[in-house]
C-alpha cells in the first residue's frame, strides 16, 4: 500500500513550523488502512466525496494522535522505521501534537454539523484513551487473561474499527440502530483480529513488516499470543519464559513443539472469529438497502489483510 497524505498545507498553522514538520514525519509512510476503508465504504453508500474526505481525515488524525501518545507511553523510539516523534521533537511536543490533532477532529466535525457523528467520534476517542490507560496499568501484570486483554483491545483497537464501519452511515444520517449495532459488532471482531495478528508479529510470525521481535514481553507486557502460549504451563516454566530476552530463548523455555502447536491453535481459534465475522456480515447485509450492498464486498476482504497479513 502506498503512503497517504490526508491533510493540506492550510490544515495546520503555518506559523508553527515544528508542528508541521512533526506531522509531515508522522503521516509519511503511514499505510492509511483505516482511511482507505472509510473511503471505500463511503463510496459504496454514495456519500458525498467531501464528507468521505472529512471522515478519512478524522480517522487518520485520531489514529495518529494515538500513535504519538502511545509511543511516548511505551517509550518506543521507532515508529515506521524512523525516530518516534517524542524522541525527535521532545515528549512535550509529541503530547501537544497529539492533543492538537484530536482538537482538529472536533473543529472539523463540528463544522460539518452532524451532532450524532460528533458524539460517536468523541466516544471512539474516549474508548481509545480508556483502552490506552488500562493497557498501561497492566504492565508487569503476568496474571492477565486473554478475555481481559480482549476487553482492552476492544477499547484500544476495536474502537476505531467500529467507528470506521459505522461513521459513514451516521454521516449519511442512516440512524438504523440495529444496522449500526451489527456494523459495530463487525468492527469489534476486526479490532480483535488485527490486534491478535499484531501480537503475533512480536513473535516473528507473519512478520513481513520486520517489526521488532519480543518487544511487548521485554517491556513487561503479556500480549494475547504470549498469554495463549503460556497458559497452563507449569509456574516455573512460566516465570522463566516471561524473563526471556530473545525469541530463541523463549521458544527453548516453552519448547519448540509447544510453541508451534500453540501457534497453530491460536490461528484455529482466530479462524473461528473470522467465521463469526462472516456470519455477522450476513446480518449486516439484511440491514442494507439494495444500493448499499457493495459494502459487503468491501468488508469481506478485510480479514485477509488484517489477520493473515496477506495483500492482493
Amino acid at each position: 500500500m502506498s503512503s497517504i497524505k490526508i491533510y493540506n498545507s492550510d490544515d495546520f498553522p503555518t506559523y508553527l513550523p515544528k508542528l508541521n514538520a512533526l506531522y509531515d514525519d508522522l503521516f509519511k509512510d503511514g499505510k492509511g488502512f483505516r482511511s482507505k476503508l472509510v473511503n471505500r465504504l463511503g463510496a459504496e453508500i454514495h456519500l458525498d466525496t467531501r464528507v468521505i474526505d472529512l471522515l478519512a481525515q478524522t480517522v487518520e488524525f485520531i489514529h495518529n494522535a494515538s500513535l504519538l501518545h502511545d509511543d511516548l507511553i511505551d517509550h518506543s523510539v521507532l515508529r515506521r522505521g524512523k525516530p518516534a516523534a517524542w524522541s525527535k521533537y521532545t515528549p512535550e511536543y509529541a503530547v501537544l501534537a497529539g492533543d492538537y490533532l484530536l482538537a482538529r477532529v472536533m473543529v472539523n466535525l463540528s463544522g460539518h454539523g452532524n451532532v450524532r457523528l460528533i458524539q460517536r467520534t468523541a466516544k471512539a476517542i474516549s474508548d481509545l484513551l480508556e483502552g490506552e490507560w488500562i493497557q498501561d496499568s497492566l504492565v508487569k501484570d503476568f496474571k492477565i487473561t486473554l478475555r481481559d486483554l480482549d476487553r482492552v483491545h476492544d477499547l484500544k483497537t476495536g474502537s476505531l474499527f467500529k467507528w470506521c464501519l459505522s461513521a459513514p452511515f451516521i454521516a449519511k444520517e442512516r440512524y438504523d440502530e440495529k444496522l449500526l449495532g451489527r456494523l459495530e459488532d463487525c468492527g469489534t471482531t476486526l479490532g480483535l483480529l488485527f490486534q491478535r495478528s499484531d501480537d503475533l508479529l512480536d513473535f516473528d510470525i507473519r512478520n513481513d513488516e520486520g517489526k521488532a521481535v519480543l518487544g511487548d514481553l521485554k517491556s513487561g507486557y503479556l500480549n494475547s499470543f504470549s498469554v495463549w502460549v503460556l497458559r497452563e504451563l507449569p509456574e516455573s516454566v512460566f516465570q522463566k519464559a516471561i524473563r526471556s530476552q530473545s525469541l530463541g530463548e523463549f521458544k527453548s523455555v516453552v519448547g519448540e513443539a509447544h510453541f508451534g502447536a500453540r501457534a497453530t491453535a491460536f490461528d484455529d481459534e482466530n479462524q473461528k472469529l473470522i467465521d463469526l465475522y462472516f456470519h455477522r456480515l450476513g446480518e449486516v447485509r439484511d440491514g442494507l438497502q439494495a444500493n448499499e450492498l457493495g459494502v459487503i464486498e468491501v468488508l469481506k476482504q478485510l480479514p485477509k489483510p488484517l489477520y493473515w497479513r496477506k495483500r492482493d
Binding site: I134, I144, T145, G181, D185, D275, H279, E283
Partner: protein, 360 residues
C-alpha cells in the same frame, strides 16, 4: 458460510428452545454468544465441549463455595445455642436444627441454580463472560435441566423448612420471608438492589442478624442480643463477599452503565471499602467473642480469620487496574475467608461443647 453460528430475532419460535439447550438436528448444542440486538448462538458438538465429569459439573452448578454464607450463620448460632443450653438447661431440638441446615443449604443451592438459569434466559450470561457457575453458558448443562434442579432444590428446602415453620409459626414465617426475598432478589434480581447500590446492605442483614436471629427464634422462641451480634460477624463476611464479587466486575458493569456500589464508589474507594469490610469483620468478632460471650475456644476464629485477612488485604491494596489479573478470584478469596471463619468457629464450638459434656 459456516453453519457454526446462527442469529435469530426476539420472537423467533426457535429462540426459547435454543435458550433451554435443545440441540440442532446434527446434535450440536447452542452456546449463547450475543443477546443484543439479536440472539446469536454458536453451535458446538458435545464432543468438542471439553466437559468435566458430569458429577463435577453438577457440583460446580451448585456453587458449593458460596453455601458458607447461609450455612455459616446457622452453624455458628447452633454452636452457641448448644453451649448456652448446657448452662441454662433449655432443650435444643437437634432434629429441627438439622432440618433448618438442610433447608437453608437447599434454598441457597436453589437460589444459585435459579440465578444461573434466569441470567442465561435473559441473555446476561454469555459464553465469553464470567460470573456464576457458567455451566449453562459453556454448554455443560442444559438450561432446562438446571431449571428442574433448581425447583427440586427449592422443594427440598420447603420440605425441610415446613416442620421449622410449624414448630414456631412467627419465626418460621420470618425464615420463609427470608427465603422469598432471597429467591426474588438474589436469584432473579426482582428488586434490582444490586444496581441501586443496596445489595450489600441487604446481604449484611439477610445473611447476618436476620438468619442468626431467625434461627434462634425458631429454636428457642426468643431472640437474644448475642444472636444478633453474632449475625453481625456473618453479615460482615457476606458484605465482604458480595462487595468483592461486584468489585471484580467494576469495569464490565461500569461500561454497561450498571450502578453497582463499586461503580458508584470508584476503584480506589472500593479498595478502601474492602479494608473497611475486613475491619468490620474483626470488630464484630472481637465484640462478640471477647465482650458479649468470652470463650477461649471461639477467640481462635479471630486469630484464624486475621491470618487469612492479611494476604487478601495486601492483594487488594496492590491492585493497579480494574483488569488486573489479581482481580480474578477476589470473590473466591472472600468466600475462603468465610470458610476459614466457619471451620475455626465450628472447631471451637466442638471443643467447648465436648468439654461441657454435651456429646456424652
Amino acid at each position: 458460510m459456516s453453519d457454526r453460528y446462527l442469529t435469530i430475532a426476539d420472537g423467533d419460535p426457535r429462540l426459547n428452545g435454543f435458550l433451554l439447550g435443545e440441540t440442532r438436528d446434527d446434535g450440536a448444542r447452542p452456546l449463547l454468544i450475543q443477546s443484543s440486538p439479536d440472539w446469536t448462538f454458536e453451535f458446538v458438538h458435545l464432543k468438542d465441549l471439553r466437559r468435566p465429569f458430569w458429577m463435577l459439573v453438577w457440583i460446580r452448578a451448585l456453587r458449593p463455595d458460596s453455601l458458607v454464607l447461609s450455612v455459616g450463620p446457622i452453624l455458628g448460632a447452633l454452636g452457641w445455642l448448644i453451649a448456652r443450653s448446657q448452662a441454662t438447661g433449655e432443650l435444643i431440638e437437634l432434629k429441627l436444627a438439622c432440618l433448618t441446615v438442610i433447608g437453608i443449604l437447599a434454598l441457597h443451592a436453589a437460589v444459585n441454580l435459579f440465578n444461573d438459569y434466569h441470567d442465561h434466559m435473559r441473555g446476561w450470561d454469555l459464553v465469553r463472560e464470567h460470573g456464576g457457575a457458567r455451566v449453562i453458558s459453556r454448554g455443560w448443562l442444559r438450561a432446562k435441566d438446571v431449571h428442574r434442579a433448581a425447583w427440586a432444590a427449592f422443594l427440598i428446602a420447603i420440605a425441610a423448612g415446613a416442620p421449622v415453620v410449624f414448630s414456631n409459626f412467627s419465626s418460621g414465617l420470618l425464615l420463609a420471608l427470608f427465603a422469598l426475598v432471597a429467591v426474588l432478589e438474589f436469584a432473579i434480581s426482582r428488586f434490582g438492589l444490586k444496581y441501586r447500590g443496596f445489595a450489600e446492605v441487604t446481604a449484611w442483614f439477610m445473611f447476618g442478624p436476620l438468619l442468626t436471629g431467625g434461627f434462634m427464634w425458631a429454636m428457642t422462641g426468643q431472640v437474644s442480643f448475642h444472636a444478633l451480634a453474632l449475625g453481625a460477624v456473618y453479615g460482615s463476611l457476606a458484605l465482604l463477599c458480595l462487595h468483592l464479587k461486584n468489585f471484580e466486575r467494576i469495569l464490565v458493569d461500569g461500561r454497561a452503565g450498571l450502578r453497582t456500589w463499586p461503580v458508584r464508589a470508584g476503584f480506589d474507594a472500593s479498595k478502601t471499602f474492602t479494608i473497611f469490610c475486613l475491619g468490620l469483620i474483626l470488630a464484630a468478632q472481637a465484640f462478640v467473642f471477647v465482650i458479649v460471650d468470652p470463650a477461649a475456644e471461639r477467640i481462635v476464629s479471630i486469630l484464624a480469620v486475621s491470618l487469612g485477612m492479611g494476604p487478601l488485604a495486601s492483594r487488594v491494596m496492590k491492585l493497579k487496574s480494574p483488569l488486573a489479573g489479581r482481580m480474578h478470584g477476589l470473590h473466591r478469596a472472600g468466600l475462603l475467608l468465610a470458610w476459614l471463619n466457619l471451620v475455626a468457629l465450628t472447631i471451637g464450638d466442638l471443643i467447648r461443647n465436648f468439654t461441657n459434656g454435651f456429646f456424652r
